[in-house]
Symmetry: C2
Subunit: 395 residues, 2 copies
């Protein structure tokens, strides 16, 4: 199939493009490269050095003989988006191209507005481009398990059958997320469901858990194919960040009690889930939701696992939670639809963590320990990180 990966230069977009290319698909990537600009804004770098997109694509061609054409542009530009979809004419679009950090969206007013307008308008433009160019294009959109929040009932996969006052309906699962970023994904989901219902489009919304890991079968083929490894408090997700904290001899920072439970998955399962969703597309008119994670962990249990696994002394520091979220809560989320399609999950065990320690050790001199500390405060409307403006070309 011909597949267009939006956000194909990012932490997960790049490995996904490689996995689909290796799987025999004709892959194109598009990106505005803004993720690299966030690094400049925040004074951060990926722990693992990453090559330019141009270089990545060239190395992939050298290593495998496969082409991945790269298109540079911004989805909030409707002309770029319409032209891109019209020229590539994909069978499926994988849409990673959103600002994806909850703390980044909570820095201040400008970052909240940037996150919501960038994500919502970009996705609207993609929907219009699909409807105009070819309504049978399957949209595979990255959402987040964080959209659901922590309801006191089981989390189903996107839809919920409700009986109320003796009548029954199947409704979109009600969501109460915890950041302006997660809210932007909720807005997207509503917009996409409407487009499927109104224009007969087809879409798969992947409500993804927290991804850990940094290597896939494909990125390991050459150091210049590496993807990002973020450890800072804004873009570094919990397990990856703690691995690097351990290696740097820094306490593992656990927000609050650490009893918050979250769904998580291995980066190798992310790329495989997307392949499965593409190769088993939604029906025309269908808005389909998969919960894309493999195991549930509390933040504290992740810290304990790292402390037990790391071959050295590790301290766990419970710090005040900068986020507003329930410290103790029920959590049980269904996640069977991707397994039904054939996903064989990688379980989190010390093999994976061991390989992550090795990656972190190789590059630990690149880490700036100051960046481990939370710099964004949910309760404040203006946080101490960054200037009070988004990057000029991103605004």
């Amino acid at each position: 199939m011909r597949i267009l990966v939006l956000g194909g230069d990012g932490y997960l977009g790049w490995p996904t493009a490689l996995h689909l290319s290796m799987g025999g698909h004709d892959v194109h990537v598009a990106d505005n490269l803004v993720r690299r600009t966030y690094d400049d804004e925040l004074g951060v770098t990926s722990l693992v050095p990453i090559a330019s997109l141009e270089r990545r694509v060239a190395v992939w061609r050298q290593v495998t003989g496969r082409d991945i054409p790269a298109h540079i542009g911004d989805l909030t530009d409707p002309v770029f988006t319409r032209t891109l979809v019209g020229e590539v004419r994909p069978d499926a679009i994988v849409h990673f191209a959103e600002q994806r950090s909850a703390p980044y969206s909570m820095i201040d007013q400008a970052h909240a507005v940037y996150t919501q307008s960038n994500n919502v308008i970009g996705t609207l433009n993609v929907l219009y481009a699909i409807a105009d160019v070819d309504p049978t294009i399957h949209l595979v959109k990255l959402g987040s398990m964080g959209e659901y929040g922590t309801p006191n009932i089981d989390i189903e996969e996107g839809w919920l059958e409700i009986t109320h006052k003796g009548r029954t309906d199947t409704v979109l699962y009600p969501k109460r997320p915890g950041s302006f970023y997660h809210l932007s994904k909720v807005h997207d989901s509503h917009n996409i469901e409407f487009a499927c219902r109104t224009w007969n489009l087809r879409a798969t919304d992947l409500n993804q858990g927290i991804v850990y890991g940094q290597e896939t079968d494909e990125t390991r083929l050459d150091p210049e194919l590496a993807t990002r490894f973020d450890y800072d408090a804004v873009f570094g997700t919990v397990l990856n960040r703690m691995v690097i904290q351990a290696v740097c001899g820094h306490p593992l920072t656990v927000y609050g009690s650490g009893h918050q439970v979250r769904g998580m998955l291995d980066i190798r399962d992310t790329v495989e889930c997307i392949r499965l969703a593409i190769e088993h597309p939604a029906h025309l008119g269908e808005f389909r939701v998969f919960n894309q994670f493999t195991e549930e962990f509390s933040v504290l249990s992740i810290a304990e696992l790292i402390r037990l696994t790391y071959p050295g002394a590790v301290r766990i520091a419970n710090i005040e939670n900068p986020r507003v979220e329930a410290a103790e809560h029920y959590y049980h989320a269904v996640h069977s639809r991707l397994v039904d399609l054939g996903l064989e999950p990688h379980r989190l065990d010390d093999t994976l963590i061991g390989s992550l320690f090795a990656v972190a050790e190789r590059h630990k001199e690149r880490a700036d320990p100051d960046l481990f500390e939370p710099s964004v405060e949910w309760r404040a409307t203006s946080s101490r990180v960054g200037p009070s403006a988004v990057p000029a070309h991103a605004a």
Copy 2:
């Protein structure tokens, strides 16, 4: 109380400002005057001539001796919004300042993007301004009954208690609206609920039905205090439009079967509901939702009522439905919370319709019958109305 009415130059914002001013409150209005620009873009005018905002405010002062300071600016400008709230320092903000037409939002990609970014970003800026200036300011936000769509279960007031797999939670009522406009209001509701939960703000979300009528006790005091009376297929809502069609000898255009049921209310109840919500504010941290309508009617029954009431021949024309919506559906929506606060609804009867006929007769030579016909097609991504761009100063 000091009250800031955002969108105070519009169909409902202006009468609300007058009603609150007459009720003894210290009222300020703010508006970017863009509603008048939509008229220019679409080649439409209000059937009833309306004075400029400057003139309206001057006449109100002459007639009542009361001042309503007017602030001109755009809520998507964060500096304007922050300065406005900081200078007025209201006890409550009534927020009407959104693009409020479903067909307008469905004209094409540019109008969909404009509607969602204008509405969502404007409201985000209001939330940040409240949080920064004074988190105790009560936000009274205009939503729409159309946000809910037509679920097969009873529509509750914003929240729903669910029992699922033996566990119970109270969740935001799940919504499946029918246009990018209605979706923008759903996005707003999610953002506002988050701000209440995270910053301890307080808000009342008024999910309003379709408003009919054109006169209130206050607008009747002088012809130059009149509010808009829209009859075109883009901004004219169903009952008002049909009254003008009857007076012009034009068939009443019923979309599809006309069995679509909607909640409706008299404009005099709109302004009173808002007074009640303000004078009985939400608690700090509370996100409260009222369903603001008084009676349910099918579109066809409205047409029949007008045909029976109008002292002349009236034909009803069922035309193809340009919208994508269920032709036959269950509809029952709870709407008791405003009545609990003291609302005494005006029922739709021939007295009101009779007075609307009189208003329409006085101005019927201003109507352009071409504008009765639907010009926006939900199934198309580009409709025949208007240029393919939003007004320059609105973009």
